[in-house]
Subunit: 71 residues, 6 copies
């Protein structure tokens, strides 16, 4: 259920860049929910998204369909 | 089907903190069901949620989309 | 696709307790089907649920969303 | 994506018994499709179901929700 | 996310036979889409289906529900 | 959750060819979303699709149903 989580991987580095740059992103989930906010942290299982009210959502990576930086 | 389950992982520690602090959470599932309650225990396969009537729901981690502490 | 299946795990022991105690359970599946009955056996792949007509349903664990003892 | 496939497992033996006994089964899939017929063979990836017109359907085990012998 | 991909497995050999024999098949996917055409190649991740207009669709095996030779 | 990612695999090479040739593709996802654009990079977890407005979408491979070069 876990991703490869090596810090050299492009996908892992991209997520790290989005965290570091405080980029607002859309995270589309398998339920078709769209979680919008800033990425705070990731590990091998999860990605933490902070919304506009500063509330965290701990997203399971297994449920991610795509991540899209907001234009 | 199993998560990485090392106690050093941020995601595992966050779940442990939510258990310890008796925080009410929303657990969104792949069926779009939302299970609301307090986390009692977790292991590598499952997460146990206790609802307002003190009834347990044993949630398979493979089916979790996100966990959100109630604001 | 298989769970961790060590008899020391809380989730595995809980299922064993539900089998031994003949507890009626609801098993929610990824299709949103709800299978209701008593658990007869489990292994690493499957969980066998016996319904009111004594008919078995062999549930693939990969498809389980949650298990809930009937209140 | 593959199941454990050891011939000693209850779930594997049950499928083998259903194949050997020519039992008619219902196979529920993640798309909510129900494939009805007799099991001809299984391996670690797939389960082959023969319908009433003697046509095979090669079902991916990853997509199985449950198997139910017809009453 | 990958299947077992040993050429001795019945399911792998069946797919190879369908490729070799140019059999028209229906591939049912988790989205309920049905891809119809002839199988050109497979590997551990994917199955390539060629439709009537000779266009390839590279199907991820993780998304396959069943494969059915057209009657 | 990760694919086999060996550069010798047909599926990996096909994706590399689509990246190199700047081919426009349709990527069908488990939510039934269709992402249309050009592939920029892939790794073991993700595939990056650039749309007509030059915006990237980082698609999780676990969520891919099929990839189809636009005719």
């Amino acid at each position: 259920m876990t991703d490869e989580f090596e810090t050299g991987l492009p996908s892992v580095r991209q997520m790290q860049a989005l965290i570091k740059d405080n980029t607002e992103v859309e995270v589309k989930l398998v339920t078709s929910d769209l979680v919008v906010g800033k990425l705070r942290w990731q590990d091998t299982n999860c990605l933490c998204v902070i919304d506009h009210y500063d509330q965290p959502t701990i997203v399971w990576k297994q449920a991610i369909v795509f991540v899209k930086p907001k234009a």
